[in-house]
Structures are given as C-alpha cells and as structure tokens.
Amino acid sequence: MARTKLYTGIYVALFVIATLQVGVEQIGLLESSYMLALGLITVFSLIKAVVVAGYFQHLVWEPRSVTYVLLLGFVGFLALTVAASYSIL
C-alpha cells in the first residue's frame, strides 16, 4: 500500500507533537509565561486534530463538503464556548 509510509510518518509526527505538548508544561513555561504556553499547547492540539482528521480519516481525499459538515459542528462549538464565556467577563 503506497500510503503506509505516509501513515507511519504521520503517526510518528503525532507522537512527537504529543510529547512536545507535555514538554511545554515540564519545562515550566506555564509558570513563567502562561498565555504563551496555553497558546502553544492549543496550537499543538489543533495541529494533531487536523492531521488525524485529514489523513487518518481521509478528509483530504473526500469532497470538500464533508469537511464543511464537520466544520459546521466545530464552529457551533466555538460560537457557544466563546460567546458564553465572553458573556460573563
């Protein structure tokens, strides 16, 4: 299968990113620069999620409309979370 190498590479990359994510905490960045650390950890999570969805779930090879369906749910989550949290600031 031609894509086995691609899948393996992605798996290794995901493994590394997950480790880096905890590394941010282990080096004490959360204590010294909380917002930077929070931003980095969030970005790492987003990258991992996009890669898993894109390649393991084959979204990159599906019609783009399927991606939009999932984005619809994700935008709903963001709208609820951001607006609700902002409403009590």
Binding site: M1, R3, T4, Y7, T8, Y11, L14, F15, A18, T19, Q21, V22, V24, E25, L30, Y34, A37, L38, I41, T42, F44, S45, K48, A49, V52, A53, F56, Q57, H58, E62, P63, S65, V66, V69, L70, L72, G73, F74, G76, F77, L78, A79, L80, T81, A83, A84, S85, Y86, S87, I88, L89
Partner: protein, 838 residues
C-alpha cells in the same frame, strides 16, 4: 421575481398515473398489529409519528385546559382544581409535551411520508434507523407519561432552569424520568436527522437539483440540519443534568459559580433554533399550499430559499436574547439584540413572498388554504410581538410576564396551525380518502376564533407573572375570556379529529391528485402510494417528472448519462421491477425502544449515587439490569440481521457525490458528536472562566498518565489504519492482528484511566468534591463511554474478520469504524491538555 429559466420540477404539472397495485407482500397487512411493530417503510413510520403526535396533542391539551381552569380566578395555594405542585407539573409538562412530543414529531410524520415522494426516493436511506427513530420517540413519550406516576413529574418549568432542576429542589424520581425522556428524545432526533440529511442529499431523482427541490423538502432539510446541531447541545445539557441528579456532580448546584447561567446558555443554544425547527416545516407546507391554492408559483422562489438558509444559520447566533435578565454583560446583550433584529429581515422577506404570491394568484379557499392563511396571520402577530422581546430595555419589562406567553403561543401554535393545514392538504394522499369540506371549514372558523380568544387576551393581561396562578384582580376578565377560548380551541381540535376519523371510514375515495395546480411528485402517484412509491424510476432530466423503466435507467447509467450523476457506481440499484429483494420489516427497532423504556425507568431510581432502600430499590436496579441486557441483545440482533435497503446514488447527490450513504451518515453523526463533545468541553471552559481561569488547576496531579493514554490512543488509531491497509492487501491475518492490537490498546487506555480514578477516589476526590472534579470526571467519562462503545464494535469486527470478512474487497465497514475511532482520538487530543496540563 420569477425563475422562469429553472426547470419547473416542482412548479410543473404533476400528472397522476393509474393506481398501482399495493404490493405490501413483504409486510403483514395494515389491519395487523404486527405490521405496525415491524414496519420500516417511510409511509407507515410517518403515519405512526402522526398518530402518536396527535395523542400527545390531546395529552398536552388536557394539561392546558387544567391550567386554564386554575387560572379562572386568582388563586391562593391549595385552592382551585390543582394543588400548587400539580399546577407546576401541568405547566412544565404542557410546555415540554407540546414542544417536544407534539409539534416536531407531527412535522416529522409529514416529512416521513412526503419527503421521499417529493424527491423521488423509494424510502429513506436507512429504513431501520427511521423505525428506530420513531420507537425512541415513542419510548421517550412513554417515559414522560410514566414520570407522573413515579413520585412527581418535573415541576420546574419547561426550560428546566438551574438550580431548580437539581435534586435539592426537585427530588422526585419522576423528575429524573422526565429528564431521561428528553435524553431519549434527543437520541431519536439525532438518528432521524442523520437519516433525512443523508436521504435528501444523496437520494434525489436524476435532474432534481437542490435549486429545484420542492419547498417543503427544502424547509425540512434545513430543519433537520438545525435539529442535528441544536439537539446535540440540548443532549449535552440534559446529560449533564442527569449526571447532577444521578451521580451527584455539581455543574448546576446553587453554589457553583456560573452554574445556572451555564444551563441557560446550553438550553437556549438549542432553544432558539428550536423555534425555527418547529416553524420551518409548517412554513414549507404553507408555501406548498399557497402555491397550489393560488395557482401561482411562489414569488421570488430563489430568495425565499436563500432566506430560509439565512434564518437557519442566524438561528444559532441569537440565543442570548432569552437571557437579557441574567447576569450576562451589557455588551453581549447589545450584540445579541442586533443579531435578533437581523434574523427578522429574511423572515420578513418570506412573509412578503407568501403575501405577494396570493395577491398575484386566484385563491381557492379550501380548508388547507384557510388554515395556511390563518397560520400566516397568526405568525405575523407572533413575530411583531416578539420584536419587543428582542430589545433589551423592553425585555426587562416584558420578560417573565404573560406577554411572553402570548407571544410564543402565537408563534408556536401558528406553526401547529400550518401543520393542521398540511394535515388537510395531504390527508387524501395518505389515506386515499377525501375529508368533509364543510366540517373542515367549520373547524377552521371555530379554531381561529378559539385561538384568538385564548391567546390575544393574554397580551392584554400581560402584567400577569408567568408560571404562577396568582395575579391582579383586574385581569380576571381577560383570563376568563382566555379560558373560554381554550375550550373553544379544544372543540376545534375535536372537530378536526372527528372529521378526519369519520372520513377514513366513510369518506369518498380520493383521486391521486385531488388538488388542481398541485405540482409536487407525491401527487403523481396513487393515493395512498404503493409500497415502493413509484411505477418506475422517477427522473426530472427532461424538466418534468417522468417515470422511466429499469432498462432506460440502466442504459442511462451505463452511458454515464444523467442518471449516474454522482460519478459512482453504474450498477442498477435494488428497486422496482428488478430481482433484488428489498426489506421493509424488522422487529429490532421496536425492541430497542422497549428496552430503552425499561432501562431509563430503572436508572431513574439512581439518585445522587444510590438507589432507594428496600423493594423499591430492587425494582429500579432490576429494571436497569434487565433493560441494559435487553438493549445489548436487541442492538446486537439488529446488527446481525440481514436487511437490504434501497441504496440510492443513481440520481442527484450534490454536494456529496461519491460519498456512499453509510459513510455520509457516519460523517453527519460525527458532526453532531462534535457539538455534543463541544458542549461538554464548552461547559468546562465556561465554568472555569466563572471560577477564575488561573485559579483552576487540573485534577490529576501528573500529566504523564494522560500522555501515556495519548500515546495509546494515537497508536490505536494507527493500527486501525493498518487494518484497513491489510484488508486492501486481502490479508486476513493482518486485519485480525491490527484490530486485535487496537482492542488491546483501547483496553490499556481504559485500564490506565481506571487506575487514575481509583487513586483519585482513594484520595477523597469524588465527582461531587468540586466543580473542577465534576467537569473532569464527567467529560473524560463521556469520552471513556465512547472508547468502550468503540471496543465493543472492535470485538465484533475482529470476530467478523476472523471469519473472512473485509478481505473480499468489501472493507467499507472498517473504514466507517475508523472514522468513529479517529474521532474519539481527536476528542482526547483536546481533553488531555484541558484536563491534565493547563
């Protein structure tokens, strides 16, 4: 404007064909109870929905009459026909029943019956899931009915506001049963939504583009999209509430900072789209009726559709106008006041389109048209009076008063009025009988009089506080007028039921197309239609509806012609005239519904972590065990069952060409699961913001066990991919080994999590220790539930693979499972940092 360049696929002429033979030979006869227990045919399921919804209309209506009897005079507690608690139950359950168990399912009944006919499909994409959706709906209805007999039903208002909804204030087992009923209803809606979205997008006849889709189908498509996302948020809300009630988590406790506001956010994120979920099907039916009875195509059809799409999208950004009296800040109130005004604009356009359609046409005032026109008038009143509530300052005055009661009844019941119009409109099609026109018109006169006598005085008595039976004496006259109006409206419904019931028995036979100028495809087949709907393959490729024989369809497909527009398989699907047997019967959806009732009643007995003592506790525990075993058995049996359904895929499938039905269904389901998990994660983030973000520390002391679990899940995702690769290489051992590894990795994840929880419990950190602990346990627990479900499926797949499945070129099941498993992985990628690191 007119769209004369468009093929008039819904605006053309529906030519009725001679009656087909009613080939129901795969099903027991209609008079047999067995038929209604096993049927999966969309028309039967539609009738079941309609009949059940009518029952709940009567149930909710009786509660309404009790409310109006209590409101005859201002009351002190303990006086009048109802006790204080009985009144609270009547008010709460009247709202819940009418919104959840009457209006939407009533619309679902029409959609089940009519939408496949309108789009040229023989059935829905997943007939057994369609039946399951109905049986879950009925199960939820039985639960809400049973809740009255389990101590007390829910009595805190239909919006279930916190903290009134937790056991400290609402301790009865029946109240938990009511919440369970809503959970099951949400499940029913999700299953139905996935089915309809897949069907309408993927199973349209050749030539039936989205642009030329009939307006009722358009309105229903947007309704189910809204349902899919909005009900996922409600499902999250009621699952959290169940957890607070059954397990003792503290999300909505009075002592939790932001807990009560969190409920309002979750509820109204669902609740405002729900207004359009209720009204859209009625609007679509009204549009069809206006066209038929004015003999005129809807004016500005394209813009009418665009407006519906805009409203569906905007409905998700207006929910905080229901919260102007809470502690949310002024900036966000102002923003949501603007979005609320914004959503009225596309609705105005639709109302003007309907009015102008009538002005340009020659109206025939038959009963469906009377009700449809009445619905429009009532909706306009409801819409205008709602504008007051969208303005922050006015809302301060009106919120919590009978102005709101009057306004939302004008809106919601105008939707019901539109559906009554639909009932008369499609009655001849569904029953093959004509109704009594005189009685129909009489019922409308009584209905319209009763409706306005009931609800308009409530505007005038607006100073009456909602949900209580004490009010100022000067409002007595208006309330008595309303109570008389309620009786008259009740008589109107009895007239409707009598008319239609009598007509089913003694009415004249209806023609296939009893309405001049009707244009949609359901009128082109016999009344009622045959089991597979059409005498051939419906096609709109010529611009008008035609029925092709199978040889023509196969030829078109083989030629790569318009009949195979999804670029997929050119093979002829199962259907009319070919030799492939299509199933229409399965008992398992009904069995799952039955065991859902047993399980939910049993688990309702679990209150804050323990069952009642003695025999009562034994009853609830026994029911829980029996129900769960039954559910596992019936679900497994349904999985094993050989069931062939229509595949579709030979017609229009934009924008999902090349995505087969099951895969699309899985993606749509996952989109709703995104919202479900999103609402859980959003709830945790919201409570953390309310608590003070940086004062909130993760419950697990060490992120390393969480990291290990991340490694385990990532690896299990990889092994699922390897299983798919092995299947494509036709390696049975490879598939079994990869899936086996997936199973072991999943087990490892659960074991690691179990150890973590045991350690935390031993340290005294339970679910009720703090809101931090509650969010951690419940959100990661929901994820664990998904992992366990995935492992059960994995075990089944291993067994199947061991017996040679998936290596014969049919590896789709592995791919669909992978979509789910990778999603579970993705969710963990967010839960891990949120609950272990930051």
């Amino acid at each position: 404007m007119t769209d004369d360049n468009q093929p008039r696929t819904d605006g053309g002429t529906a030519t009725a064909l001679p009656g087909d033979s009613h080939d129901d030979d795969h099903l027991p006869p209609r008079w047999s109870l067995k038929r209604w227990l096993v049927t999966t045919n969309h028309k039967d399921v539609g009738l079941l929905y309609l009949a059940t919804a009518m029952f709940f209309l009567v149930f909710g209506g009786v509660l309404a009459l009790l409310i109006r009897a209590q409101m005859w005079s201002p009351r002190a507690p303990g006086t009048g026909v109802l006790s204080a608690m009985a009144y609270n139950q009547a008010v709460s359950l009247h709202g819940l029943i009418m919104v959840f168990w009457f209006i939407s399912p009533f619309a679902t009944g029409f959609a089940n019956y009519i939408v496949p006919l309108q789009i040229g499909a023989e059935d829905l994409a997943f007939p057994r899931l369609n039946a399951l959706s109905y049986w879950l709906y009925l199960a939820s209805g039985i639960l809400v009915f049973a809740s009255f007999f389990l101590g007390s039903s829910y009595a805190g208002g239909w919006t279930l506001y916190a903290p009134l909804n937790i056991p400290a204030f609402m301790p009865s087992i029946g109240a938990t049963t009511t919440v369970f009923a809503i959970v099951v209803f949400c499940a029913s809606v999700t299953v139905g939504g996935v089915n309809f979205i897949t069907t309408i997008h993927r199973m349209r006849a050749p030539g039936l583009t989205m642009r030329s889709l009939p307006l009722f189908t358009w309105s229903w498509l947007l309704t189910v999209w809204m349902m899919l996302l909005a009900f996922a948020a409600l499902l999250a809300a009621v699952m959290i509430l169940l957890s607070d009630r059954m397990l003792g988590t503290t999300y909505f406790a009075a002592t939790t900072a932001g807990g009560s506001v969190l409920w309002t956010h979750l509820f109204w994120f669902f609740g405002h789209p729900e207004v359009y979920i209720v009204f859209f099907p009625a609007l679509g039916a009204m549009a069809e009726i206006f066209q038929t009875f004015s003999g005129n195509r809807i004016v500005g059809r394209k813009w009418f559709i665009v407006s519906m799409v805009l409203v569906a999208l905007q409905s998700f950004i207006v929910w905080m106008h229901h919260m102007f009296l809470t502690s949310i800040n002024l900036e966000v109130k102002t923003l949501f006041m603007a979005t609320t005004i914004g959503i009225s604009l596309p609705f105005d356009l639709m109302v003007f389109a309907l009015i102008y359609t009538l002005i340009k046409g020659r109206i025939r005032w038959d009963t469906p048209m009377l009700y449809a026109f009445g619905a429009l008038v009532l909706f306009i009143v409801g819409g205008i009076t709602g504008v007051f509530l969208g303005a922050v300052v006015l809302d301060y005055e009106f919120r919590g008063t009978y102005w709101v009661v009057a306004h939302f009844h004008y809106v919601m019941v105008s939707g019901a009025t539109g559906l009554v119009a639909a009932l008369f409109y499609w009655f001849p099609k569904m029953t093959g009988k004509t109704y009594d026109e005189f009685l129909g018109k009489l019922s409308f006169a009584v209905y319209f009089t009763g409706f306005n006598m009931l609800y308009f005085p409530l505007f005038l008595a607006w100073g009456t506080p909602r949900r209580v039976f004490a009010y100022r004496p000067e409002y007595v006259g208006w309330h008595r007028l309303a109570s008389v109006g309620a009786v008259i409206l009740g008589i109107a419904f009895l007239l409707i039921i009598y008319n239609l019931g009598k007509s089913i028995v003694t009415g004249d036979d209806a023609a296939a197309n009893p309405w001049p100028y009707s244009t949609t495809a359901e009128w082109a087949v016999a009344s009622p239609p045959p089991i597979d709907n059409f005498p051939g393959k419906p096609s709109y490729t010529s611009g008008n509806l035609e029925f092709l024989d199978d040889s023509a369809t196969a030829a078109a497909a083989a030629d790569g012609g318009t009949a195979a527009t999804d670029g997929g398989h050119a093979a002829l699907e199962p259907g009319h005239g070919d030799d492939v047997h299509v199933d229409h019967a399965s008992i398992w959806p009904a069995a799952i519904g039955l065991f859902t009732v047993v399980t939910a009643i049993g688990l309702s007995g679990l209150q804050v972590g323990s069952f009642p003592a003695g025999l009562e506790g034994l009853f609830y525990q026994g029911a829980s065990v029996l129900g769960v075993l039954g559910l596992i058995g019936s679900t497994t049996a349904m999985g094993y069952e050989n069931f062939t359904a229509h595949e579709g895929g030979l017609g229009e499938a934009w924008p999902f060409e090349g995505v087969e039905n099951t895969k699309m269904g899985m993606w749509v389901f996952l989109a709703s699961d995104v919202v479900l998990f999103g609402a859980f994660i959003g709830a945790a983030i919201f409570l953390r913001v309310a608590y003070g973000w940086t004062h909130w520390h993760p419950i697990p002391h060490n992120p390393i066990p969480g990291l290990v679990n991340t490694y385990l899940l990532l690896t299990s995702s990889f092994t699922v991919i390897l299983a798919l690769v092995a299947a494509q290489k036709r390696s049975r051992k490879g598939v079994v080994a990869s899936l086996g590894l997936t199973f072991l990795l999943g087990l490892g994840f659960l074991a690691n999590k179990a150890i973590e929880w045991v350690v935390l419990f031993s340290e005294g950190t339970g679910l009720d220790s703090s809101v931090r602990a509650s969010t951690y346990y419940l959100t990661t627990g929901l994820h664990m539930g998904h992992v366990i479900a995935g492992l059960l499926i994995t075990a089944y797949l291993i067994w199947r693979a061991w017996n040679g499945a998936y290596t014969d070129g049919n590896d789709e099941t592995l791919e669909y499972f992978g979509l789910y498993w990778h999603f579970v992985d993705i969710v963990w990628l967010f839960l891990f940092p949120l609950f272990y690191i930051v």
